[in-house]
Symmetry: C2
Subunit: 439 residues, 2 copies
Amino acid sequence: MSADHREQQPVQGSRIDPHIGRYAHRTQGMVASEVRALFAVASRPEIVSLAGGMPNVSGLPLEQIGDMVKDVVTEEGPTALQYGSAQGDPALRELLCDYMSLEGIDAAPDDIIVTVGSQQALDLITRVFVDPGDVVLTEAPTYVTAINTFAAFQADIRHVGMDDEGVIPEELEEALVRAQLDGRPVKFFYTIPNFQNPAGITMSTERRAKVIEACERHDVLIVEDNPYGLLRYDGEPRPTLYSQGSGNVVYLGSLSKTFSPGLRIGWALAPSAVRAKLVLAAESAMLSHSTFNQLVVRRYLRTFPWREQIKTFNTMYGERRDAMLSALEAMMPAGCTWTRPEGGFFVWATLPEGIDAKAMMPRAIGARVAYVPGTGFYADGRGRQSMRLSFCYPTPEQIREGVRRLVTAIEGELDLRDTFGTTLAPPAGGLQAPAPDLP
Amino acid sequence: MSADHREQQPVQGSRIDPHIGRYAHRTQGMVASEVRALFAVASRPEIVSLAGGMPNVSGLPLEQIGDMVKDVVTEEGPTALQYGSAQGDPALRELLCDYMSLEGIDAAPDDIIVTVGSQQALDLITRVFVDPGDVVLTEAPTYVTAINTFAAFQADIRHVGMDDEGVIPEELEEALVRAQLDGRPVKFFYTIPNFQNPAGITMSTERRAKVIEACERHDVLIVEDNPYGLLRYDGEPRPTLYSQGSGNVVYLGSLSKTFSPGLRIGWALAPSAVRAKLVLAAESAMLSHSTFNQLVVRRYLRTFPWREQIKTFNTMYGERRDAMLSALEAMMPAGCTWTRPEGGFFVWATLPEGIDAKAMMPRAIGARVAYVPGTGFYADGRGRQSMRLSFCYPTPEQIREGVRRLVTAIEGELDLRDTFGTTLAPPAGGLQAPAPDLP
């Protein structure tokens, strides 16, 4: 190849990667975020970030936790610093049963596998169940990194619509029937029933029963992801799908939002045959989770007033949720709508007709506020008019200021729209995931 | 189905798993260990276990490490307990470059991804490169959980023979050519060049050059797994393949053997395009590793005399290696052979003609000694006459007693052989992996 010829080649990622011909097909489904650069900007101190889903761990009593982790090393060091089993520490699994009993789940420790956050549980489930082209059903919108994981295993991701009561049973039924007509196995329906990420919606009790009925009738597993369930600020708790189903639900739990994400303790509760497969998959994925972290969490659940700590978190997050909802109510322009979550971290806002939340990002950053555009929460390019606003990390005052800045950005876009027409970009299709390290 | 008819059904795992029709094809490659039950027995206190590959963490100064982990929480808690990036803490990655420089590696922090032990690095590499049926070349024998990982991604695992200088270049060349003739892409050659697990063999400097030359000529990646490299008890260090190659080597490191496996800190050092893919795969696999553990290791590498700690480990492990080699020399029956490792944790022993190491296990357990039969370290049923003996965990006295007990078991089998002929079971084929939580 002549030098001239080479100069005509476009210099792009795929051109300059000498390994490009070697990757597995699934690797094509692993996409870098197009808004990652914006997130780097969003972490600047002058920006009010309504983008991230980071819990506010500064609310934890660090001195006491420091003493606790020291005790783990000095009293249990030879165990804590050694390899453990792939299923996870048995005593921790017993304590996780107690934890889940707060949401009405009657679980056996042997049906639990401890994972690196519930994200790893989701990854192992996908690995164990999904062949390329298999259908995975999810709510629309849904958790961005779940989409990434399903895509990384080449799933055919199909969305099911939601309203204020959660997933719409008729749409779920239609998706199940359509997959059957297509001759494509539906491997599972993935749902976040409480304070959904990103929509902030909680599935009603009646809907839960209908979802279970439909999935059982079609012999389809349910994967119930419930990291926020105990972070409820008002309203009544709903029964878990796991406790209402009859063996067709894999339940995912996590201490990332109720204690600390830095320890990466999540888990799956699964029918025993499935649990056995997940353990085998975990062995080849990482041998075993950190024994040290498991013993830290074991000690935390045994000795720490963690129920009180969750109440403290709920007071704090509840105030932040209220700050966001009242700021939105007071300031958002006509034509904007948003959800009113009873718990969790997120509000889902939809902009007036003709306004593109992703196209608005540079203007918002200019106004020193960040959010996650809605497109990342769909596998099919939808969501351009929406955005996820999180209230977990900033203070109430920062939240009010953030909404004020957001409103100036929206008003700027409205002016633009009224002068030049829609700001909506043409549909792009495919995956447009934001950085998945912002859960 | 009548009750009578049901009674005739064999009650086996696959029969009673209601989810059996749902699993992905790859899940068939995830096999439970047939010797797991024996390992449970092997952990009884009256047994001398020469089976496990657990480092002797009781040699660590727990009081000092306890203070250190407390400081991480009280001084850096809001960071340590929060989510991190999927690539891993930047300052830790810089310190890992210093660590690798001890073996002559000149690395950039940006080319490193921190993983849950090097096992996760191996899993991510396989995920990124291997489609079902792709060829992965390994030494024969090789690390059991590497086999499990490659099998879980449906690789066509092909072994390359070794002698006392490591992998035999002619056999590697033959395997590379044969895959080419078969029209099957070789995705990588997996090697543990130092004190190999399980064979205890170190690849000679000359062989390293030949391996690099052959793989570069065939345009095949090398995955260099080096968890034991700094645990050398005599002889001269050899250059890493990474430092000798020209961009075709992915290097795996780990602090599990030189500090603590309970913290699960391993890493991959890879060409930057490959590293980027590994980070994407890690995001969907677990979002991020434990920030807490990374900050603990960061502080350990910054403030702790870890080079001295490795010297202390080397003195201890060297004595144990010597105890094992001299006991084998003094006691093993004629016809037995074994390797003489210059470092690491393992000796590979081969029994006299006609003796099956797996068939001998019950007798060995009866004599209160355990080892890993050789079959687990091959993907093709070979290794029945061999066993892995580890000297890392038991004391020199326990090692001598263990070898004494092992010799009584071998002598019992020799009597049996001399009376009834071979004890070798017919070849079984397929995967017969021991429990992978014994690295």
